[in-house]
């Protein structure tokens, strides 16, 4: 018998070449962004009131959208993971639909339902004087629409991984289902909720299509960072690059935050 020896086999060229091309394709644009960045002019670019306004609005709206997603998404995830009802698989598919739906379509759909002449929007407008489109609250709704599925999927996964017998143990100690959820299940799935929130927040921060369709592009009320980048590209490319750098930094920070949770596949 020959002794086992680590075998170093060269990767076939037909696989290596496209792999490296793919890597370059993903990395080079970001490198380009760094190269072309107006580093000397950056402080001035980033301190203009327009940029601050867009950044502030982006952070506020993404955080509010994440809050809304938590409020509605965690119970929805619980329903999907812990109860049996007819059509549960169908409901689950519906929840994940915004993940694959073009965000513009989401914006159009939101407009048709919650727009001033929409099915609910008309009623909201006449009964309460609430107008959602082209308002900051519209940005939050549009972002939550595309971001919430990330949170639901993440929390549902955490719930399925959590042992339901802890809830049974809580029940034998006198806890109602709600108490068991609040005092036992929630702390157990906290890491999953945190990961889902970060993902949803990042998705909300970068939201463009649904936002511009449903909420429009008004500086100070609905113009978030991605919208400002798009607009700046037309008139002032330098500013667009500066804004893009800010978003890139935030993305890297999110990735670093999630590292060790989901990126530890190796």
């Amino acid at each position: 018998m020959t002794p086992a020896r680590p075998v170093h086999r060269r990767a076939p060229f037909a696989l290596l070449l496209p792999a490296l091309l793919g890597l370059a394709f993903l990395v080079l644009p970001l490198v380009g962004l760094l190269i072309r960045a107006p580093w000397s002019d950056l402080p001035r670019q980033l301190t203009t009131p327009e940029v601050w306004e867009a950044l502030r609005l982006s952070l506020v709206c993404a955080t509010a959208a994440t809050g809304l997603s938590l409020l509605l998404g965690v119970p929805l995830a619980w329903l999907l993971a812990r109860t049996e009802f007819p059509g549960r698989r169908f409901v689950r598919a519906l929840v994940t639909l915004p993940l694959v739906l073009p965000p513009v379509v989401g914006g159009v759909a939101l407009l048709l339902v919650l727009g001033r002449n929409g099915i609910f929007g008309r009623w909201l407008d006449s009964a309460f004087g609430i107008t959602l489109p082209f308002h900051t609250s519209g940005v939050v709704l549009a972002e939550a629409f595309v971001a919430m599925p990330f949170l639901v999927i993440s929390v549902e996964g955490a719930l399925r991984a959590a042992d339901p017998r802890y809830e049974e143990a809580a029940a034998t100690l006198g806890a109602s289902r709600l108490t068991a959820f609040r005092r036992v299940t929630l702390p157990l799935i906290a890491p999953g909720i945190a990961a889902g929130s970060v993902l949803a927040w990042a998705r909300a921060l970068g939201e463009f299509g649904a936002t511009i369709t449903f909420a429009g592009n008004f500086p100070g009320t609905t113009q978030t960072m991605p919208l400002a980048v798009y607009l700046a590209m037309e008139s002032e490319p330098e500013a667009a690059i500066a804004l893009s750098l800010v978003l890139l930094t935030v993305s890297i920070a999110v990735l670093a935050g999630l590292r060790g949770r989901w990126m530890s596949g190796s």
Binding site: A170, G174, S176
Partner: protein, 359 residues
Amino acid sequence: MSSSLDARLVVERPGQTTRAGFRLDLALHAAPGEVIALLGPNGAGKSTALRALAGLLPLTAGHLRLDGTTLEDPGTGVHTPAEARPVGVVFQDYLLFPHLSALDNVAFGPRCRGLGKRASREAARPWLERMGLTEHAQARPGALSGGQAQRVALARALAVHPRLLLLDEPLAALDARTRLDVRSQLRRHLREFEAVAVLVTHDPLDAMVLADRLVVIEDGREVQSGTPAEIARHPRTDYIARLVGLNLYQGTAAGHTVTLPDGGPVLTTTEELTGPAFVAFPPAAVTLHRTRPDSSARNVWQLEVAGLDLHGDQVRVDLTGPLPMAADLTPAAAAELDLAPGGLVWAAVKATQTHAYPA
């Protein structure tokens, strides 16, 4: 019968393509202070029965009454949910909440039953104290040893003052050394417990040491019930004969001897112990003789044959006298000894064949 537990548990699980259907039909009665062990092989329905008692699994039929109150009766539509039953459960792997300290785990029940944060902790503290865990009050379950976790689980179940205590394989998760300690502590706590306790185990020794009465179940049905000694001496099936093949005595140890109560016989053991102790030996360790054996065996008694039963290829002999016991021997040996009910015979057990441990 004025028992405080009166139940007939019928749980049906319809057959599916992947597994066969299952039906549990088990009557259970117990008086306050009684400890019942459900004993049986895997898949016999022990855990199903326990879950039904806890309210985690609905009854298909039958009834469950505790202290005269009907907790469940599918016939009349009564179903008290688990959280409203005066029942405490010690789960097999304890299921201590990993994010709470030992103290808060025990305080969880009192808190759910309406006490505030401070008051529930004050209610929990004496239970930890009783379990000797005061210095581990702030420890998370992950930092506790198996034996400590088991005691926290018991404290948590007792802290809600249950009228029915359920224990699912309470010693199965422990290693052999810890098991002995925890078993004797658990036995003491069960003795102090004034309501009904039902424990599920597949280990006959645990069942015999901990319980006043055994209920052996197979395929969802009771095959035999009675005190451990009754069942050991009169096993009704081959399975039970193999399962409960153990002679078990309680006495006071002093060095290599254990004296049974009321000036009873003295057993010689290999283990050195002092204080309350158990001695156990399997029926196969007993040798029977027509005349007094002059071998080195110190444990020799003259006993009377009370009965003979053939189980598989073994004859189990029921012996009465100063030290009632069961003995197993081959049919040939039984014939040679000419054993018959009422006859006298000498029984010997080598000290090396006995096993003594603290009670």
